[in-house]
Symmetry: D2
Subunit: 353 residues, 4 copies
């Protein structure tokens, strides 16, 4: 088979950079164009010197018709609103799409409306027909749909960490649905490349804060997926925090157990659920729970515990926000879409320390 | 009045060091001896070079009779078990005691027994009579008792952050008592000065982890205090985390609201509760919530929010674990015990950045 | 005596903030106005929440005539060019000046010209007559002049670290003058409050770099002072680096020894030179050399060594760039100018860890 | 060809871990045993959970005869003294050796004696005959010798950074030989995995220090190599520092230029010298100089500058101390020894940020 030809739109941000890092040494992919509004004509490696020798393309403008090669898939590593503008063009050209924003995470346009309101862009979806054929890009839930999908909406970084951590418990009916709390801690890279006083090094070191309490947009994806799994509408309490590190999301997930299952029963439920999911690792209370497993990789580590005093299931879900929370998961989706080994280009350990 | 003469036992640890930092420039206190098992006879500043010129005592051995000066108060900045061994001696000598461990946080010896079991030292309290006259050292709750107290049990660092954050809501009956979740994040200094692979710099940078789920000993103090305030037994779900910073505890506290109060009503409850408490600052959702307020200071910042979607009160309680969580609070207790201005030696801003 | 009334111009930056932190609890100073171009009319504590309760002034515009109180001294914690514009006004009003920029570090206007060229502002000095009566604000060298000075030019942060580290050796003739190397490492706060991609947290963690090789403007002050001490023109090789920490400058200073003095002889030279300088600490090779001594304080720690293999004097000079390198040194200058105890408001230990 | 069968002795440390990270996904290598004194019988992934699924061997004891498979090369990622004890055994078995310590960096046993004295182990070399056939493992200098070598002494991390940075200048006669200064800054991982109060997270954050001034053992390798290149004995002044980051060495190298070459001439000398060296990157003054290029990779970035005021060549040499300074360079040596592509298993970009 020919290699998968990839165009990355929004190559200038972290999502684009992470995609290039993986795809430039992926054995079955070839990057054919890097597109960005800024720095057009400059070598990509002048933005990201560490990629010199790995990807020596220059940055193309968003005039896609200048890309002459066959394009199999377009990664939209762009802010909300971009993917939905250009999706029809690429679908017509026969390409498939993986979008990193919220543009294609919602088939339900009223839910998208609420999402758009939360991110401060309350406007109509520009490609509602495309939204309606999109597949939500959590391979652990939708592998079969992703295989056939023409458009995949890569999930929010917080969202995937919460969904993976809660899905087995909710699906299996282990927990009550009305008191779920998700307390998430992200590294600073989650906020992207754009400078901001709050992420100026001297302002961030030794600093932790909660933000957007009750109002973060990722909660909508989580609730939608958990409601589908539970076959019942539910809402969760979700609080994001920023901690002084660069990579990683650790979400601590709390749900009341209905009965009094043993930890082994619960671990059994989780293991069954994730059979065939190569990037989910499940650990019991006695096992190590360390950032080193996920840093720089596409793994999600689920550390499963019960607080027997309050009969609460506590799952600590740990990912690298730029990998399983972004570019790594996108490549995993691409692998599935093109019939490649799911782990191709992603099977490598993190570097410790 | 004469200065307050202070002996610090366990001067070698962070609690001792923090106490010396404050007391060496406190206008109404005088350190008369620094006691430790290790490094006896060495200048204190050889352990802590930054204190040279501020406190030039040498380290005394735990043979207290060699301390000839009048001693007004003894700070036991020592591991569990030490204060309870020596308290009777000092009380007999007429000194008062502030203990930093769990030794004097419990008048109820069966609760102490549970505490002792949790920290892996399941043994009888050595001075039960002293435990019974001890006062729990949260000045915001027990100022009057502390004035007269002969023995003060300085609270656990996690405990004080949770208690201050939840007390007004629980006392006022704003919240339901059976689904309280406390998700706490501490800097590494909370684990003390002793080296440990988990706190080796290369292992801790870019690393966050939850630990001792369902089993941390500080939860007992929190539940006892909240139960007293609620006049009803309650249990909470408490999960501590370590994040890659040195100082600070941020506890995110979740409790279901009974009714649907406005945020202003809730803020009113908090403001009333902490009237006359100079070290508690209350902020509403629109106000800045930043580590810089508490770092290096004795302040507790309470950031009060309501998640209206799930009708949950979310209070983010933020302290410096070594100040309001340890030495700063101890000095505040000392000030109260000796009729000094509560803020003496503690009224100074943090340094930013 | 009345308190010293201080106006801080450029209050919005780190230098202003640091000055307020010190002066708001300084027993003999009173801040009468905080001036800035931005955020006029806003409470200062809305910029710096940690100063709420310590300094509750609002920010004044640069229309100085609206300041009605007696003004004894103006701190210009402003970029290059500001102090020189307003100095005549304040001198006429009878105030004295401490300027944090390069505006008043050079009486020699041709040297100032070279400085202005290096910082990219090649223009004429606006107040040459004021420049000519300015005193260079290194109290360890110019205490007598500072007492009488109407205008003090607070030194560059790199400059003071290098000057204090090399002055005794150069003055005493211990070292050769033609091979001096200064390798300086600064924390990120040295670059100020303004955001910049290079100081975005994710870009700075785990990152160290050298910059402006051969071209940094601070080298001019160092060469001027060392040349005066040597009574001979000299040039040095100076390389600044940024390391992933917030506060602190450590300058490693290399100079060939002329003879083969013992370390004790060299230490003797340094100790004599700094007799009467309360903020300089000298340590020999066996003594601890740690950031904790200087962090958050006005101290300079000089760690003096000889590499006997190459007969090189190596002095490691360590300061907090925002204290001895900026606001702390400014307050020390103010204390000297107004006949106060030199250490007033500055005598306090750092907080460890 | 069969895969290269590798035994890693000292697998428990960072060098072993780094080697496993690379070799477990190296297309032409196979790890056949992981040996360590500690944790014998435990799965390697219980020490390093991030390697679960990549290397599921258990730890073998140092009884090598129990290793039954063919062994092509042994990595001694062990402290000084171990490799020299076991080298004869493995050579007899037909294996080749890459040693990470100082054991095989010196054919000259008197120089080894000085090295041994400096590290506090002043004793006779146990395998002097093996030392005499060892090759110094800097591929950029000794590629031909390494191809044939039976024993390679992997260089010290500081040493390789200094040698690569200075070799072209010294070899070409560009610089004077009697005033070379190397000011090196290392991340904390350079000190290894063993806990130490100085590397306890709270003691290291915001902390930088110089150490072992004039006495570090790596200087001997640097001087030996530079003397060989210069064909004249020389000594350098070398000062190591520890900065608060985990990975990376940045060495700032100073040498007086003899003539007044242009920067382009100097860059030409460097480029010619490193033609055919895939892991050395040369940058001129205008090019980006950033840690991201080397972090997690086997690259060495040389940023070449001239300070024209003092006519000094300043080369900033930047590596990842655990890769080009340790395991990465060892694998590069292995590739050369076994006729593989030099970059095999090492050609991948770092991950940014």
């Amino acid at each position: 088979m020919d290699r998968v030809n990839v165009v990355i739109v929004g190559a200038g941000g972290y999502g684009g950079c992470g995609s290039v890092e993986i795809l430039s040494v992926h054995p079955e992919a070839k990057i054919v164009a890097l597109v960005d509004q800024e720095n057009v004509g400059r070598p990509y490696s002048s933005l990201y010197p560490h990629l010199k020798g790995f990807c020596d393309l220059t940055i193309s403008p968003p005039e896609f018709e200048e890309i002459k090669e066959r394009v199999d898939v377009v990664f939209f590593s762009t802010p909300d609103g971009v993917g939905q503008s250009y999706a029809p063009y690429w679908l017509k050209r026969g390409a498939r799409i993986v979008d990193f924003s919220g543009d294609f995470r919602f088939r339900d346009l009223s839910l998208y409306g609420e999402y758009a309101r939360r991110i401060g862009r309350p406007q109509e979806h520009k490609s509602p027909d495309v939204a309606k054929i999109s597949v939500y890009g959590v391979p652990e839930l939708y592998k079969e749909e992703i295989k056939e999908a023409r458009v995949v909406g890569n999930p929010g970084c917080f969202a995937i960490s919460c969904i993976l951590g809660l899905a087995p418990a909710v699906k299996s009916g282990l927990v009550e649905l009305d008191h779920i709390v998700a307390d998430a801690k992200t590294g600073v890279s989650g906020a992207g490349k754009k400078v901001n006083p709050s992420f100026h090094y001297p302002h961030r070191y030794e600093t932790i804060n909660a933000y957007r309490i009750g109002g973060h947009q990722h909660v909508l994806e989580v609730e939608r997926e958990l409601s589908l799994l539970a076959q019942k509408e539910l809402k969760i309490t979700f609080t994001p925090h920023v901690v002084p590190m660069t990579r990683g999301i650790l979400s601590t997930l709390y749900a009341k157990l209905k009965e009094r299952p043993s930890i082994d029963e619960v671990l059994g439920v989780y293991s069954s659920f994730y059979e065939g999911s190569p990037f989910v690792r499940i650990a019991g209370p006695q096992e190590p729970q360390t950032s080193s497993v996920v840093r720089g990789t596409n793994y999600c580590l689920l550390w499963v515990n019960i607080d027997t005093r309050t009969n609460t299931l506590i799952v600590v879900s740990h990912i690298d926000n730029l990998m399983k929370g972004q570019a790594g998961n996108a490549v995993q989706n691409m692998n599935i879409m093109f019939g490649l080994e799911e782990t191709l280009g992603l099977f490598r350990p993190s570097q410790f320390p």
